[in-house]
């Protein structure tokens, strides 16, 4: 028995505390500002955090949900977040203003942004919109005009009505025939739950494709090789979560709702979203290269559309903006 048991216990305790501190401080902090409020669109990040995939990769990840008023570009550029997840139009508009960003992953290969029409309005293609009543969301006017003009329809051919950001009551009530923009797996499901069958026209099929929910970091930050290694670890961990999601989207969508990351979720809608969104996350490119692949062809189309709406003055140098290095090294599952 030691002559100084209390002193030895203190020394041991201090050593253990120092060891714990050293271990804890070895985890690389990463702050991610998500593309939307917590729902299955951000499943991968929440699941990876809950299951410890980020911790296993040596990452200490903080997730900041998005919402109205959140500017992911601003948060990344000001250093409040490491990784931003946002729309490519937003990224391109910022790059046009001189912000240096690097896009390294993209969740959606086909844009889920769509126009939703009542089935009884008989709108199966944009040309059918002539003479119809079109609800246009407050922040979607430029998008709506571009969509119409690219498809041979002008605003004067329709009866436009400005609608609120999450207002589906007008289309349910039959006051409008179609509304733009909607998310292919959100509003349509909710409108059908209210008893109104709908047609969904994906804007990506009509010249407005975009890799929605693209992951980006500050250009200067990306230049450091150690930071690139961090991004590879991050995407491997999140990719593991998404691989599981692809195998059971309905079940894991329910898991997500049950975790109460967000109190306002509708479980039926989330399951519908989950089973539908995997179709937008995968295509021929991801079947070959792996999910979250950055597709330069889609970005060219998006950049040209961004110039057409006036949000950017010119198409930027996409080779400087985009990189597939991270996804090449992360080598995510092929779906």
């Amino acid at each position: 028995m030691s002559a100084y048991p209390f002193r030895n216990a203190l020394i041991l305790g201090a050593a253990l505390a120092a060891l714990h501190g050293a271990t804890a401080s070895a985890a690389t902090p990463v702050t991610v500002v998500l593309g939307y409020i917590p729902d299955v669109e951000s499943f991968g990040a929440y699941y990876a955090k809950a299951k410890g995939y980020f911790a296993e990769a040596g990452l200490d990840v903080t997730l900041i949900p998005a919402g109205t008023g959140i500017d992911q570009v601003q948060m990344v550029d000001s250093g409040q977040a490491t990784i931003g997840i946002g729309g490519p139009e937003q990224v391109l508009a910022a790059v046009d203003k001189g912000v240096k960003l690097k896009v390294f992953a993209s969740e959606f290969q086909t844009s889920p942004v769509s126009m939703t029409c009542r089935k009884d309005a008989n709108v199966a293609k944009p040309a059918d919109l002539k003479g119809k009543r079109l609800g246009v969301k407050q922040n979607a006017e430029l998008f709506a005009k571009l969509f119409l003009s690219k498809n041979g329809v002008s605003m004067s051919d329709v009866t436009p009505t400005t609608i609120g950001g999450s207002d589906i009551s007008l289309i349910i009530a039959g006051k409008i025939d179609c509304m733009i923009t909607t998310f292919a797996f959100n509003e349509p499901a909710l409108i059908e739950q209210a008893g109104v069958p709908v047609n969904v026209l994906r804007l990506g099929d009509y010249g407005l494709n975009a890799q929605t929910d693209s992951y980006f970091v500050k250009g200067d930050w990306y230049a450091d090789a150690a930071n690139q290694a961090t991004l590879v670890k991050y995407m491997k961990a999140e990719g593991k979560a998404w691989d599981e999601f692809f195998k059971d989207p309905a079940g894991l969508s329910k898991w997500f709702v049950d975790q109460a990351f967000n109190d306002g979720l509708n479980v039926e809608q989330q399951q519908f979203q989950g089973t539908t969104q995997v179709k937008y996350m995968a295509d021929a490119v991801t079947a070959d290269k792996g999910i979250f692949w950055v597709n330069p062809k889609t970005w060219v189309e998006t950049a040209q559309n961004t110039v057409a709406t006036g949000a950017a003055k010119a198409v930027p140098d996409l080779t400087a903006l985009l990189t597939d290095d991270i996804m090449e090294k992360a080598s995510l599952a092929k779906h």
Binding site: I37, P38, D39, I64, P65, G67, T68, G69, I70, D71, Q74, S78, Q80, G165, S166, I168, S169, I172, A173, N186, L190, Q193, A194, N262, D263, G264, L265, N266, Q269
Partner: protein
Amino acid sequence: MVDGTMSGDFAADLVGERSRRGRAWGDRGGRALRALLALLPPAVLLIGIVALWGVLSAYGLIPSYILPSPAAIGHEVETNWHVLLKHASATTLEAISGFLIGNTVAVIVAALFTMSPALKDAFLPYALMSRAVPIVVFTPLFVVLLGRGLPSIIAIVSFAVYFPTFLNMMRGLDAVDVDYRELLHTLSATPLQRLRLIEFPAAMPYLFAALKVSASGAFISALVTEWIGANTGLGYLVVVSSQFFKLPTMWAAIFTSALLTLALLGVVTLCERSLWRWTGLAKEL
């Protein structure tokens, strides 16, 4: 009296005292009854409105995708009261903190401006100009400076409630009776003494009038700011549940916030009544 009998005067006093106490109790009971009767008409009206709403919903005259039935909202409150409580607690903390901070700063600044006319002349125009700028313009600035969450929301609520109280306090501190001012002037009172003895008491009715306005403003500001800068709170719950078309949740959150606003207004009114000696003076308020 030593012989155990009461003198006539003493007996008369005792009866008089008992009679006065009886009248006092009677008065209190009467006031309580009058208060209850005053609540009856609005209570009956509310019950009538809810009943009519229920009937119209049952017959489909009010579509559920616009306004759910009272039963649906009641069911939501019953099953998800813990969710409502969680978000209500967050909003209440934001609103009360902002209410206290904003009004305290307003009172202090109004007092400083009253004590120093030079300060008032220099800063008052900018204080007035700041009110012309909509609060939503400042919200992203506060969020960038203070980060999302509690600090920025409390700052915005404080800013929103500050101005009515500041203006009313300025008016109230000026509303002192001229005779009192002259009296204290002849007694060589210091500015602080004037503030304590006559100006603050004179400003009480104006302060409480402003506090009632800022009581509702505090909750409204907290709700609106949560749309932009938070991931919790009744405002956030309203936005999220509307985006996923969970209308009973949305309306339950709206009614909860209305009740909380009324509760804060009630607290302010009670405080006002407890200080009626000063607050009762300005009949025009």
